[in-house]
Symmetry: C2
Subunit: 217 residues, 2 copies
DNA sequence: TAGATTGTTAATCGATTAACAATC
DNA sequence: TAGATTGTTAATCGATTAACAATC
């Protein structure tokens, strides 16, 4: 019963497994061995087996893995079999984009509210959601169980919002601002840092020249 | 002169260093030791020194690092001192959001074109860019040097686009689709997988229960 | 049963951390 | 010079890969 935490490296690979297994299902492939999957995913079969065995014995010796049941196991592990209620805070371009994302709902992520502080945006309807005044956030949380808050607001506005979220039982924050936010230990956070991502791309485009400029790197 | 590649783990930390150093500059802090920076960033001082020394000796013994010059070094390493020309392919919600992002330009990322295949979107002006017909992409690339293409299109449309990009000297692809795209070796790719990100958040919210369900994990 | 492939232990590799001599 | 802090080597830790006994 040593429920020691799974390493982040493993967790980050789970959605990719889920994606590949979904593709296999779509192609009516019923079984797959770790070696076959490793070729498709371009990782080692050892890693695949190690990863899965963090959670249980999903395979059958001499046979491989049943695609459908493995798919469902990973679905459960990722918590995709339970419904998550989301709210979007900050309905700018990015917030609107997320509100309009259709595929979240298929995976159990249901957006039940949208908030902003701008007079121009409050009251507008985006993707069938009427944007509410951020002032009503606390009140909304009293009445509605919210699992995840999507923060598509400027960095400096985050702290205040997180205070409100944390007293109302919100479990996770999906942060799109560049700030390093602090959340209470019972909340999880996941940040999407678009500019960091673009900068690493920029680095890699320029890597050769950079390493010439800074020799013996 | 052993220009061996820098590990991805290091590269991914560079934007974060850059961000913190920028904050220090904004606060008129002129020097910083690795220990002081390590406290602020919540990583070890050893790691900071190791990371920087991949690229050069930026510090001064007994003193620490000059914030401004270190900031500029990292800026150069990330390629932020050179101008990058971007195009956005796929002007849906996410594409529009990226077109409207103001802060990219400050860091040398200039969007010079936007493309879509939908009659309804072609011809529209978004963030001062007239959306062009994707059919004109190849022609546009002949006339304009483009460094990075932002792919905000559905998965199945990516391959065809990458073919066009690759024959025209585009160096990098910033991919927002969920597909695993293949690019020629001289192109770099960086993917932002929003649903993967949301799934890992979901996992962590549910982790405790999951590990109970799958004991001895 | 023979063949295949898992689950799992052991070996390797790489990244992080610690320690300290070099030097400002 | 004494104190501070880097750059760098060595030690540790953790993650990946290899190997193989277990077993379908």
């Amino acid at each position: 019963m040593d429920n020691k935490k799974i390493s982040l490296a493993v967790i980050k690979r789970l959605p990719r497994y889920y994606r590949y297994l979904g593709d296999l299902l779509d192609n009516d492939i019923q079984r797959i061995s770790s070696v076959e999957l490793s070729k498709r995913m371009n990782i080692t079969a050892s890693q695949i087996r190690q990863d899965f065995n963090n959670f249980g014995c999903f395979g059958i010796q001499g046979y491989g893995y049943n695609v459908e049941s493995l798919y469902k196991e990973i679905q459960t592990i990722l918590g995709l079999d339970v419904n998550h209620k989301l709210i979007v805070i900050g309905v700018g371009n990015l917030g609107s984009a997320i509100l309009n994302y259709k595929s979240f709902k298929n995976r159990g992520f249901e957006i039940i509210g949208a908030f902003d502080n701008s007079e121009e945006i409050i009251g507008k309807t985006i993707a069938d959601k009427e944007v509410q005044d951020i002032k009503n956030l606390s009140q909304f949380l009293d009445k509605n169980k919210v699992d995840i808050a999507v923060l598509t607001i400027p960095s400096d506005a985050c702290d205040k919002i997180i205070d409100i979220l944390s007293v109302n039982g919100v479990r996770g924050v999906w942060n799109f601002s560049n700030s390093e936010i602090e959340v209470p230990s019972y909340m999880m956070q996941e940040s999407v840092r678009l500019s960091d991502s673009l900068m690493t791309l920029s680095y890699r485009i320029n890597e050769e020249e950079i390493l010439k400029k800074y020799p013996r790197g």
